[in-house]
């Protein structure tokens, strides 16, 4: 399941809803991305996430479908917020349920890496020295590339 929303989410509530009533799950992994104050000379007072309505949902659905085709997951969830957020606030949540821990870990890491390079979101930070668009990082492309077919990161099953 995927959701794009401006409202906050509660990590615990989302995990508990996803797992409720299941006894076929052995491993639950959650990843939460949060607004980080860089803590250097500049301080971030807030961050605004712009997105491409329509394409965002398609991109998140596609990456979730890819993850579920590659790893045996009982269920999964992706929530991404848009709008203006303060330091410390939640941005994104990925949850994976699987029989085995390695599949749950890998699928969650894959979804985040894929999201970073495919999902149409753009961050603008408000800092001490004014607003600025966050630049994409090459390390995100490198992280996404390690999941490409042939890189054989899939778990064969424990």
């Amino acid at each position: 399941m995927i959701r794009v929303q401006s409202e906050n989410f509660d990590i615990g509530t989302e995990i508990e809803q996803l797992r409720a009533g299941r006894t076929d799950v052995g491993a639950i992994v959650s990843f939460t991305g949060t607004v980080r104050d860089l803590g250097g000379v500049e301080r971030i007072s807030d961050m605004t996430l712009e997105h491409y309505p329509g394409m965002t949902e398609r991109a998140l659905e596609a990456l979730e479908a890819d993850a579920r085709a590659r790893w045996p997951l009982q269920d999964s969830l992706v929530i991404h917020r848009h709008g203006t957020l303060q330091p410390g606030e939640n941005i994104v949540l990925v949850v994976t349920l699987s029989k085995h821990r390695q599949a749950a870990f890998e699928a969650a890491a894959f979804m985040m890496d894929d999201l970073k390079t495919r999902a149409p979101f753009w961050k603008k930070e408000t800092t001490d020295t004014g607003p600025r668009w966050v630049e994409a990082r090459e390390s995100d492309d490198v992280a996404a590339a390690r999941w490409q077919r042939g890189a054989s990161n899939e778990t064969a099953g424990e």
Binding site: E50, R118, A119, F121, W122, W133
Partner: protein, 85 residues
């Protein structure tokens, strides 16, 4: 050909509009052709598309290369590399 164009992040700020519908002149068949034509429209477009190699495109909400065809496209978007998550 009438087509919907969308701009996001600093591309949107420089172009000065988030969304518009335009009639394309003949001979524009790829994303790259469209970017070249847009650049000629006014200073804002010229400034935005001067950084063409930095700009990403989506054709009908799917990521597309600059040499991708835009025949039959209904919606084309231009934006910087994504920075979500």
């Amino acid at each position: 050909m009438s087509i919907k164009l969308l701009y996001f992040a600093w591309v949107r700020e420089q172009v000065g509009v988030g969304e518009e519908t335009v009639d394309l002149p003949d001979g524009i068949t790829t994303v790259s052709d469209l970017m070249t034509w847009l650049k000629s429209r006014d200073e804002g477009y010229a400034a935005a598309f001067a950084k063409a190699p930095l700009i990403r495109a989506a054709v009908d909400q799917e990521h597309a290369q600059h040499d991708a065809s835009i025949s039959d496209a209904r919606e084309i978007a231009f934006f910087p590399p994504v920075t979500g998550g």
